[in-house]
Symmetry: C2
Subunit: 486 residues, 2 copies
């Protein structure tokens, strides 16, 4: 087909040049992942590189080689570093090389999953079936791959809100309800739950934080007292949120007892299992998250302990109809037809706040087929064993002090040294040690606050880490602590 | 560093095998994109392939080659098809090969943009600065790359909600407000706006749909009457939503007049510019979207007319502080430190419902540097010229009838043939023709309803399309129409 000369799209002039850039990217990035241990765990961005990011929009194009070179020189070296075996900050996933290739495949295919028939919707449905089976959810449950756990939590809480408001909130709004809905979680709950309630129009005061004990877990008896108090004050409890692996210490709420309570009080039981839910993949760890399988809904990430590239999270909702009701809208242009592309029996565009969604499932489908679920489960078990090893070493070092129990894969501790310091000085010392260790490039720990005091925190969700990496980090902490006066 | 034998992550045993799979993927997928015109625009999924997607989770792994082969045989061929030059269903972007490679690079780097220092946050900030400049927004405006326009609309409407509720909604919830907030849009507004109001707890009745005229654009005088009525009934108007390119016909609301009205009535002016906003990139089309640059907030996609791979959308908010207020939460583990990875001055984790976000900006950064903004603008102009060409041809064919004006890049029309048919028979005929054209593999048009009647709809957002592709589609419509009785 001939085209007028003025018709020109965005495909490359020189496909061969782009193909070679593709090969070089594959070679260089896989090599970099393979040898990442030899590189610093983190490096600051030079001012000159930062300045390069201030240039105006490129009105004219440049060669694929030039773009590739610029990426390799200014972007890739100054990554956050969560692909490095000694990165333990926040709770960040490492990803896998196959997952990265899958992202190229998904983007080349460029599938939009908004209700039209294609292999992508079947792949996503399959991945969701796998997850339901592995987490003990019934196949009839509904699910969606989201951009991450925040949106997954939001979806689950919206379904719960709508079920308990007593009016059709989606039509009439929250103000039409005669109830003031309140949800419950431990005081160690992730901020995403609070933010979801803000988005949903319930406000952060709708989140009742029940103080935890020394193990940082929900105390179910206190939870029930709090519910009774609120009922007495005319509020309407609607949801209990269990944390399956808190972000600070990895604490797992007593999910089974919370499920019992939710059943008895006829409340929605939601589990935020951002990383912890995937412990259910391991036969030896499954017992630690017992009760998860009884939740009305669960939200978790695959880009954390699932080692998928960012961003992919999951929400599972036991009552598929309730899930569907919460997001139903009508649009003439979305009407299905009996045949052709619009014949898909796939209501995923009505299961969350997004309509168009990219092909998030392929990275799971390809990576899991490559490494297998068993090996992922073993990597998760390995991280738990590494956390136990750190705990043991911390307990054996006089200069270190464990800050919280280690129920899973997070360890919090402090460098206390050999001399007395004020609480404020000790806080400042932890932050200074963490910054120095980061700046040294040896490893990336982070800090958090427990009961108001700064602690060093390691989130071990990294399949590339080895016990020796954790030893190297502890050595660095001791070294910096001693350099700061011991 | 030696490791115990039981420590094994998810990296490949055989890096070289994975590297070769990477090369083959690059070769095969780029070749497929280069020759996509020779393939059918769509093909149904054989039942046997669908059955393959019912297998249980792979507990044991397999070789990278086997995974690669399965992807190429069962997934890639049955894609939705929006990468094909004759795909015009919904409003779906085509993507670019460089954009796909960028997705591999982003996933290998695996950066999480949740407030920590890295090159990725600077790239995202740069892309947002480009977009602000190109759309006429001030550099002081706030912005965020989202998974798509639905979440972008949600964010903008949440900021507006919070500014007008008269209480701190994020603390106290919508019920604490003494106002019933109502928003305004034309009856051609996208369902995402309704869904956003549902999520936000305002309910779909909070969306007042103002009937459009024959051009499917908002009638501003009717809008003001409706506002007056609502004020008279004690409701509180808070937001006017302008559609910059409606999903049914591409109609552009009189944005300038709506901005005037919003100013006069002190209302929030939000623009949903899912695809249409990018017309602002073209000097010759910019006039058609005049007024966009006056909005308080604008939401649009880059995976549609921006030709980026799914999913990436944008929200820009003129008042950066209002934007930040709407999503602020506190979490001890997210506290910044003066140096190291936690030293970033980058509050993106407080600008929307997500905390962790993948590196969505790289595909824009790399693709725009390759093809340049000017060429993207020309591709957009090309699509608008193609729509004008289709309009002209439809008007010249006795058997076809234009269904709506063609203000931009969408064309709606019907096959009316040469004999009289009931309205219902005509509706069914359009659907049947569309399904047959899809099944033939020649092209993928879709349907929508205008004023309750089914029409054929072409969304021309495809940089790979040529005028000849649209002619081939029209020929196929005529052929199928005649085969169905003419």
């Amino acid at each position: 087909m001939n085209s007028p000369d003025d018709e020109r799209g965005l495909d490359p002039e020189d496909w061969e040049a782009l193909r070679l850039v593709g090969h070089r990217l594959v070679d260089e990035l896989l090599h970099s992942l393979r040898t990442v241990r030899e590189q610093p765990a983190w490096r600051p961005i030079p001012e000159s590189v930062k300045q390069g990011f201030r240039t105006p929009a490129p009105m004219q194009g440049s060669s694929p080689e030039a773009v590739h070179r610029e990426f390799l020189e200014t972007v890739f070296p100054y990554r956050l570093g969560n692909i490095h075996p000694r990165f333990f900050a926040r709770v960040m996933g490492t990803g896998t090389p196959m997952g990265a290739l899958a992202e190229f495949a998904a983007a080349a295919m460029n599938n939009n999953l908004s209700g039209l028939e294609s292999s992508a919707v079947h792949v996503e449905a399959q991945v969701l079936r796998w997850l339901k089976a592995l987490l003990g959810f019934p196949e009839t449950a509904s699910g969606l791959l989201t951009s991450g756990c925040s949106i997954a939590n939001l979806i689950a809480l919206q379904v719960a809100r709508d079920e308990y408001a007593g009016v059709d909130v989606n039509v009439e709004g929250v103000q039409a309800s005669r109830y003031r809905l309140v949800a419950y979680a431990s005081d160690e709950v992730h901020s995403a739950v609070q933010r979801a309630l803000m988005v949903l129009g319930l406000g952060s005061t709708a989140l009742r934080r029940v103080p935890t004990g020394p193990d940082f877990r929900m105390r179910v008896e206190d939870l029930e007292d709090r519910i009774d108090d609120d009922v007495g004050q005319g509020l309407r409890p609607f949801c209990i949120v269990g944390s399956c692996g808190t972000v600070n210490t990895g604490a797992i709420d007593p999910l089974d007892a919370m499920a019992d309570l939710a059943e008895r009080r006829k409340l929605w039981f939601h589990v935020d299992g951002a990383f912890g839910a995937l412990a259910a993949l391991s036969p030896s760890l499954r017992e630690r998250v017992r009760g998860l399988e009884r939740a009305h809904s669960v939200a978790f990430d695959l880009h954390k302990w699932g080692s998928a590239p960012y961003g992919v999270g999951v929400v599972l909702v036991r009552d598929a109809e309730a899930h569907h009701r919460a997001f139903q809208t009508e649009a003439a242009y979305l009407s299905p037809l009996p045949r052709g592309v619009a014949a898909a029996d796939y209501p995923a565009n009505e299961l969350g706040p997004e309509l168009s969604r990219g092909f998030r499932g392929l990275r799971i489908w390809m990576a899991w087929k490559e490494h297998g679920v068993s090996r992922l489960a073993r990597a998760i078990e390995m991280n738990v064993a590494q956390a136990a090893h750190v705990k043991q070493r911390v307990e054996g070092e006089a200069e270190l002090q464990l800050s919280a129990p280690v129920p899973l894969n997070l360890v919090t501790f402090r460098y206390v040294g050999r001399r007395r310091r004020s609480p404020e000085a000790l806080d400042a010392l932890q932050a200074e040690i963490v910054m120095r260790v980061q700046e040294s490039g040896v490893a990336v720990p982070s800090t958090t606050k427990l009961r108001g005091r700064t602690v060093i925190r390691l989130a071990i969700v990294n399949h590339r880490s080895r016990r020796a990496d954790l030893d190297a980090l502890l050595d660095a902490v001791l070294r910096e602590g001693r350099a700061l006066g011991g």
